[in-house]
Symmetry: C2
Subunit: 221 residues, 2 copies
């Protein structure tokens, strides 16, 4: 889709919106393709064709495939993070459950973006992509840390929270692949997993014990 | 290095050993570099220089950087898997602890290989690399499944075991990054995490309850 020559007085606001929307359409098409095929087997032509656009337009907006790939993942990452900001002020365990529900809203509504973002699994990945994925993971960690009012986690608590985040990521991918567990059931499982993992950590770490207490109201043991 | 014309009676065994050793040296040097820098910032010259070899020799053995990268990760993956094959026939919980100890032996002794394997490389080469990483993960899953005598895991048990494997991977990376938890302590934590996660799964899944019972000797609840 090439730009038509503008013959009327330009209307910047609407025009801007249209540019953004077109860019977004390309990103959506790219995410869909990248999540189903290896990036090396997705061409600019594939993306252009899936979005009903011209090859030239894709180059115009993104410069090349690597830039498009990075832009697509960044867009998925931003959307996911915007979903995870705390919304309410309920009891900590309810807040955690609500956060997981919003996470799975994203997984369900943006399956392509989620799979493209996390297909590499819980492992760190190198380069710009690795930075995006680790960025999401790191900010997710900070969100949980802040929501649970942990100033500086002890090593055991840090390892436990990171492990739990990896569990949630993996559960999201498993659910997309298999869809044989009710979403609500899987969400409850993950809340209970957090409590159980904190319980293990609490046996050897005072900070984890305090966090478990704050989360469940149980007395630290 | 091109093959020299054979003028004497060839001695295949010794010659073969020497070729294998040289190839292994190149792979070791490559893993070391790939685990510290993005693959895109490691050149064939870097690998050759780190291994005290010529650029031509690297090309001779591997054809190019992508092939070298894949060979290096495959080598790390094979080594990790060979470590994880069940060795003894102790009680299930002891077997699990021994398996985790062998896993961390690999993490400690082959830190470069482990980090390179799980860092997975830039996503635009995700195809072959992704297959190696997912292959390790899948065979690790089968190993645990077989060792615990689970024929066909229920959805809840499958999600739980996959989550736990992701926890172990993450704990391994966390330990390499921070080294502020005793290895033995982290290993115990991961065994207890498995029991705790199975406990959560067992509340809603009979198969998980049976597995928990087999692992700990507790009565299924």
């Amino acid at each position: 889709m090439t730009e038509l020559p503008v013959t009327e007085t330009p209307r910047p606001a609407r025009r801007r919106l249209s540019v953004d929307r077109r860019r977004e359409e390309l990103i959506t098409a790219a995410l869909e393709l990248f999540s189903r095929r290896d990036a090396e087997h997705v061409s600019i032509d594939d993306v252009a064709s899936a979005a009903g656009a011209s090859r030239a337009l894709v180059y115009h907006y993104f410069g090349g495939k690597q830039e498009l790939y990075v832009a697509a993942l960044r867009s998925a990452a931003e959307l996911l993070e915007s979903r995870l900001r705390p919304q309410g002020s309920g009891r900590p365990l309810e807040e955690l459950a609500a956060g997981i529900a919003r996470y799975f809203d994203f997984v369900e509504q943006h399956a392509a973006g989620y799979a493209a973002l996390l297909r590499g699994g819980p492992a760190n990945r190198a380069g710009e992509i690795g930075e995006i994925v680790d960025g999401v993971r790191g900010r997710l960690f900070l969100l949980i840390q802040r929501q649970m009012r942990v100033a500086e986690p002890s090593p055991v608590l840090r390892a436990t929270l990171r492990s739990w985040i990896a569990s949630v990521e993996t559960a999201g991918l498993d659910w997309l692949e298999n869809r044989d567990i009710e979403r609500a059931e899987l969400e409850r499982l993950l809340v209970e997993d957090m409590v159980a993992l904190l319980g293990v950590a609490a046996r050897r770490d005072g900070e984890a014990a305090r966090l478990l207490h704050a989360l469940t109201g149980d007395q630290p043991g």
